[in-house]
């Protein structure tokens, strides 16, 4: 038991050592598009669960500067959201 605890402490300390003031920006902000990576969900007008994440409470489409979606995917999204609206899904 004791040895395990020590190990965990060691791990923690090693994690802290990685954090420094001089680290590059990419560790601070996650600015990749969540829909462009491999294995990302397909943008489709039937996939309401996905579309609802990118719509405000009033039903407006959220701008890509807030959601960090790439320009190509944002175009796809806005088209499929409009289709879903027409079918009264959103």
């Amino acid at each position: 038991m004791k040895s395990k605890k020590i190990n965990s402490k060691k791990n923690k300390s090693s994690n802290f050592s990685k954090l420094s003031i001089f680290q590059p920006n990419k560790y601070k902000f996650k600015k990749t598009c969540p829909l462009s990576s491999k294995g990302a969900p397909i943008v489709d007008y039937k996939n309401i669960k996905l579309l609802k994440r990118y719509v405000s409470e009033n039903g407006k489409i959220l701008p890509s500067r807030i959601t960090n979606i790439s320009q190509k995917k944002q175009r796809e999204l806005s088209l499929s959201i409009k289709r879903a609206r027409n079918l009264a899904l959103i």
């Binding site: 489709d44 027409n86 079918l87 009264a88």
Partner: protein, 112 residues
């Protein structure tokens, strides 16, 4: 020949037999005009997010069709006149994904 996804919404107070009639009617039109029905999905009675012609809910029927563009014109011409339908939507797609049905789970929970 193109691939189309075609969805229609029927009124909330249509009975099950009427929905079957509607389904048969439009699949007949498709087959007469040399179209291929790849798949049909019944999404069932779902809540509309806003009122359409004083309807709160709607019966959704979804077709996946392989046909020419002239058939879609014919279909939509008939659907515009149909009083049992609220809306329709056709979308051209490159490939069908026949596996996923986003609305299956909702139906099961409703039945339970």
């Amino acid at each position: 020949m193109n691939n189309y996804e075609h969805t229609i919404i029927a009124r909330q107070d249509t009975t099950a037999s009427q929905i079957k009639q509607i389904k048969d009617k439009y699949s007949d039109i498709i087959l007469k005009n040399k179209g291929n029905i790849v798949q049909t999905q019944d999404w069932g009675l779902m809540n509309l997010s806003y009122f359409i012609k004083k309807n709160k809910k709607g019966n959704y029927i979804h077709f996946k069709i392989k046909c020419d563009g002239s058939l879609i014109k014919e279909l939509e011409k008939n659907e515009k006149l149909d009083k049992n339908l609220l809306r329709f939507l056709t979308v051209r797609v490159k490939n069908f994904d026949l596996k996923t049905n986003y609305f299956l789970k909702d139906n099961k929970t409703n039945e339970k």
